[in-house]
């Protein structure tokens, strides 16, 4: 596989992290192609969220390599990884509650990342237009001046997705994007996600099998920090090991 590395946008090899001897992720290999939507599934404690944490730099790996477009991410700081083009949505909605929806999106606008860049940052027409455009996509166009703290759970999830969208990452990582949502919100979110995953690579962690079937190009099944199975949804659903540890329950 390593001959065709260039064909992959993300190459994860031998990725290992150990917390006081407990290997949450153990020698994991997987490869993501451009424009692919990869869904990671697995039972609780399989290390799914940890894998995303390792890729985006939130957790430091013990060993292995994560290459994004040929750059080694494990050596980079979180903000540098963001600049390289990797965006991450957290499991619980992480928005800036004391700021308005507009300001949340503005902070995520990919310009003025340095201290003096931030001081000199001006809200020009391009910024306003982009924020208006994103707000429309995430159904929050009428909430721009509201503090994020006053949004509903589902709206916060959308806002965070919007904050990622405005960054326009080449690789988008979503951790349970529809968890805790009402049925109506779920339908809207699925529609939203289908729109935003169109022309970028995406890694999604999700438990909702219906949703996974809808969006997944390929599915990676994790179990106890290791790769259990990989392939199309139909392929992994038929895998006796996967049924045994995950789907069967």
């Amino acid at each position: 596989m390593s001959d065709s590395k260039d064909a992959f946008i993300l190459t994860v090899e031998d990725l290992t992290v150990s917390f006081d001897g407990f290997k949450a992720v153990n020698g994991l290999n997987f490869y993501v192609e451009p424009n692919e939507c990869r869904v990671i599934i697995g039972p609780n404690g399989a290390g799914k969220t940890t894998v995303l944490d390792l890729i985006c730099g939130r957790t430091k790996a013990t060993g292995g390599s994560v290459q994004f477009k040929g750059q080694e991410l494990l050596k980079m700081r979180e903000d540098q990884i963001v600049h390289a083009g990797v965006g991450r949505k957290f499991q619980n909605p992480s928005v800036y509650e004391d700021l308005t929806v507009f300001e949340n999106l503005e902070i995520s606008y990919p310009r003025g990342y340095s201290v003096f860049g931030a001081l000199a940052f001006r809200r020009d027409q391009a910024v306003r237009d982009r924020i208006a455009e994103i707000a429309e996509i995430i159904f929050l166009q009428n909430h721009l001046q509201e503090k994020a703290a006053y949004l509903s759970h589902g709206q916060k999830q959308w806002l965070e997705i919007g904050m990622l969208l405005i960054q326009d990452p080449e690789l988008l990582m979503l951790d349970e994007p529809v968890a805790g949502m009402s049925v109506a919100e779920r339908v809207k979110t699925a529609e939203l996600l289908n729109r935003i995953i169109a022309d970028r690579s995406v890694i999604v962690i999700e438990h909702d099998m219906k949703f996974v079937e809808d969006i997944a190009t390929r599915v990676t099944v994790l179990h106890q920090g290791k790769l259990l199975a990989e392939g199309s949804m139909a392929h992994v659903q038929a895998d006796p090991k996967v049924i045994e540890v995950y789907l069967g329950h």
Partner: protein
């Protein structure tokens, strides 16, 4: 809850909203008109001294109120700024003629008392006023940069940062007291007379310095407002609430913290230098833990989210301190402690928070403004 204008700054271009403009005007009226008219030169000088602490409090609004970085060592920077200027003034006061009775004329008196016979090399540049003015700001800022880099790059934050700044304040005090031949020790640098030949001890000079001090304070307030209004100001708030998330919005959190800590240090240093000029000396008692914590109390009482509130808080607490400690010197310490507890428990947003909660609605009722921007539904 916070005083940070978010709704009000939905549009770019307005540096101050209506309330802030009125607040700034009221403060300017007090500082530049009412106090100078109402007070005799001695009392005015006293208020000038209080206002030097306000520089520190305004810096704390940015660091602590906005950025969530609670420094319990702002006395370090206040002191370094004050000492830098005191060194210049002391050298000017220590002419060979004025110090002819010393065994080594021409050096500061405390050096002579400590059997030092030549001016140390690191004192030499302080013969120059230009160098001194640069050093007043540069030395504390560089020191803050070193502390900030060492802490924030290693992601030391919260209580640990507070404790470490407090320890550094204590260490610096001990160092200054211990090296009395070079620093004037526990008495500090005293008996300062002239600034480039201009006698700073006269009532007239003190009045001029009061106004210079006020003008500099408003300069710092304007700069603080500029920072708060910029995207950097909003990043600070975001950082205070969800530091981790800010990294994934693409910002290097440490560099923002270092910046705001250095800015707070610069403000404190200007305040320290103005203190030296107006009070006529600088000593370790303005560097250590106690003054550093007092400055945090000034800021907290005024409202740690409001730059104007911080100035009002500083004036009020200090005025109360002087008034009560003249009458009941023993009780004041308890009063100060009680005040801090009250702020934390009863009005965490300080006077500015109380004003916003209770007084502004009254104004709003008295004067309905149909043109006021309505929050979007």
């Amino acid at each position: 809850m916070t005083d940070f204008p978010s709704m009000a700054t939905g549009r770019d271009g307005r540096f101050l909203n209506r309330t802030e403009m009125l607040g700034a005007a009221a403060l300017a009226l007090l500082v530049f008109v009412l106090l100078p008219l109402a007070l005799d030169p001695f009392r005015l000088n006293l208020f000038g001294k209080y206002l030097t602490y306000a520089f520190v409090a305004v810096g704390l609004v940015l660091c602590w109120g906005a950025g969530g970085i609670l420094s319990l060592g702002q006395g370090i920077f206040f002191g370094l700024g004050g000492y830098a200027l005191a060194m210049f003034l002391k050298l000017e006061a220590s002419t060979p003629e004025a110090t002819a009775i010393q065994s080594t004329p021409g050096i500061p008196d405390f050096m002579d008392w400590n059997q030092i016979t030549a001016l140390p090399g690191w004192w030499q540049p302080f013969h120059s006023l230009t160098f001194t003015i640069i050093a007043v700001v540069a030395v504390p800022v560089i020191f803050a940069f070193i502390i900030g880099t060492a802490m924030f790059r290693r992601r030391v934050g919260g209580v640990y940062f507070s404790i470490i700044t407090q320890a550094i304040a204590a260490i610096l005090t001990i160092l200054i007291i211990g090296q009395q031949g070079y620093t004037g020790g526990v008495n500090g640098i005293t008996d300062l007379r002239t600034l480039n030949g201009w006698d700073i001890r006269t009532d007239e000079a003190k009045t001029v310095l009061y106004f210079v001090n006020g003008a500099l304070l408003f300069g710092c307030l304007a700069l603080a407002q500029f920072v708060r209004r910029s995207k950097l100001g909003r990043i600070l708030i975001a950082m205070r609430d969800r530091e981790d998330r800010v990294r994934f919005s693409g910002y290097d959190v440490a560099s923002f913290k270092i910046f705001v800590f250095c800015l707070g240090a610069a403000f404190a240093a200007i305040g320290g230098a103005m203190f030296t000029l107006q009070v006529g000396f600088m000593s370790p008692s303005f560097v250590g833990i106690v003054p550093s914590i007092e400055m945090v109390i000034f800021c907290a009482v005024g409202g740690r989210n409001s730059i104007l509130g911080a100035v009002w808080g500083t004036l009020l607490v200090n005025w109360a301190k002087t008034t009560f400690s003249e009458g009941f010197p023993e009780l004041w310490q308890f009063g100060m402690g009680a005040l801090f507890i009250a702020v934390v428990l009863v009005f965490p947003d300080g006077l500015a928070g109380l004003w916003k909660q209770h007084v502004e609605p009254l104004f709003a009722r008295l004067k309905p403004r149909p043109s006021a921007p309505q929050p979007a539904e």
